[in-house]
Structure formats: C-alpha cells, structure tokens
Amino acid sequence: MIPDLGKYAVEVLAAYGVSITLLIGLVLGSVRRSRKVKARLAAVEAAWESTS
C-alpha cells in the first residue's frame, strides 16, 4: 500500500504526518470555535430580544 519511500521514509512520513495533523487541527479548531460562537451569540440575542 505505502509506496517504497527508500531511505528517507521517516522524513517523508513525518512531514506528511505533522502537516496533515496541523491542518486538521486548524480546520477542527476553526469549526469548533465557529459553532461555539454561534451558540453563545444565539443566547445573547435571545436575551436581547426579551429585554427590548
């Protein structure tokens, strides 16, 4: 399955592993933050509607 990476296998796999982890972390972090902010804003908006 994994192509023969020769003597540089560790380097190549490390580069892909770390980069993809960072990218996934960035995407998940952004999505989670977006969801959290949306929920918090909805709560504040509800309070705002009820006061005014």
């Binding site: 540089y8 770390v18 990218l23 972390g25 995407v27 804003l41 006061t51």
Partner: protein, 241 residues
C-alpha cells in the same frame, strides 16, 4: 452594486455562511486528491529520492505563509483608510491560519533539508526568513490578544502590520546578504515551469489550489466568528447601559 457592500457585517455573514461548507469540503476534497496523487502516484526524483514528495506540502504552505501576510496587509490598509470592521476582523481571522502555514513550511523545509544538508536545521536564508515571518505572526496575534478595546486593537495591529511588512522585506534582503544559502533556487514560479518536470508539477498545482481554497474557506468562517463575537459584545454593552 459595489464590493464595499460586503463590508457590512450582516451582509457578509448572510453571503458567506452558505458558501463556507461548500468551500471547506471542496478544499478538503481537492487537497486529498492532490496529496494522494503526490504521495502515491509520483515517481521518486533521481537525485532527491522520495523526499521530493515533501514538495507537495512545502511549496503550497510556503506560498500561503507569505500570501496570508500580504492579505493581512491589504486588509489592514483597507481598515485604516475606509474603517470597514469586516476588513480588520478578516486580518485578525487570517493570522492563525498564517501561523499554521508558516509552521508547516518551516517543518517540511527542515525535514526536506535534513537528508540534503545532513542537519535538521540549517540557517538557510529561506528557512530563516520564514522563521522571522513566524515571529512577526506571533507578535501580531499577541498584540490582538493583549488589547481589550477592539477598535484600538484593530488600529494598532494595522500599524504594526504595515511597519512589520517593511521590515519583513528588509529582513529578507538582509538574510540573503548574510548567508548565500543552500536552498535550490525557487523551485516553482509560473514563468519557469520547466524547472520541475510535469509529473511533479500537476499534483503540486492541485495541492496549491487546495491550500488556497482551504484558506478562503477558513478565513471566511473565522471572520464570521469574529463578527459574531463583536455583535455579542455590542449587544451585551447595550444591555448593560
């Protein structure tokens, strides 16, 4: 209709919210295709062996690391000149993406250099420049985080971004002067396609498109989050008074 209409926060959210999932999934799909193509279905380079596969991560992330900063610079200028809040918040939202791109570029660069240079870290001009860029990103985000008032923060970070850009360019020249370098000359520029054989070039293009699309999706999503936070703050301030 003028483009500045999208500088209205509500209009921005209304327009971008339906787009973001498409853009994000599209980016993930293209990036998956590009990386799988690059990782599994390209030959090893005669000279560099399998390390050539790092190319598909290193080049797009390095391009993005610089382009994100340029986008922040433009957004900062727009904020200072036209006082559009969305612009300032877009710059704020882009910075963490730039940090991750710079980290990827640094890490893949170091790893790629390891077999070539025989050392994990070489003070090669390009790598050094990215390290300096990384410090600029850190300072920029730290300044955003440190200032309470959002408009003050937007103003000061914008000024810092402009001054920082001048010094970043200056550093690039200084670093070149300081160490003539081990890096191969720019391996990918549009007018010098023959630098890289087509087998490497096509998957790289796909990866670049994926990175760009990913950045667009993330920056829209994160800007929307920043706008919502500002709205929350504004409503809370009104409810208190």
């Amino acid at each position: 209709m003028s483009i500045w209409e999208y500088a209205n926060p509500k209009k921005f959210i209304a327009t971008t919210t339906p787009l973001v999932p498409w853009l994000l999934w599209g980016a993930i799909a293209i990036l998956t295709v590009g990386l799988i193509w690059g990782f599994f279905f390209t030959p090893d380079d005669v000279r560099q062996g399998s390390t050539v596969k790092i190319f598909y991560l290193h080049v797009p992330s390095a391009m993005m690391a610089i382009n994100v900063w340029i986008m922040m610079l433009i957004a900062s200028l727009v904020w200072l000149v036209r006082r559009h809040h969305v612009s300032a918040l877009a710059a704020k939202a882009a910075a963490p993406i730039g940090i991750v791109m710079t980290l990827i570029a640094l890490f893949t660069g170091a790893v790629w250099g390891q077999p070539m240079w025989g050392t994990w870290w070489a003070w090669d001009p390009r790598l050094t420049s990215f390290l300096i860029l990384f410090l600029f990103y850190l300072g920029y985000t730290a300044l955003w985080a440190a200032i309470e008032d959002p408009d003050t923060a937007a103003d000061l970070t914008s000024v810092l971004c402009i001054v920082g850009s001048v010094f970043a360019v200056l550093s690039r020249y200084a670093v070149n002067f300081w160490n003539q370098g081990l890096h191969q000359p720019a391996s990918l520029s549009l007018d010098k396609e023959e630098n890289v054989a087509d087998v490497f070039w096509y998957p790289a293009l796909v990866c670049i498109a994926g990175f760009v699309l990913l950045f667009v999706a993330l920056v829209l999503m994160r800007t929307a989050s920043e706008i919502r936070l500002r709205r929350m703050r504004a409503l809370e301030a009104r409810m208190r008074s």
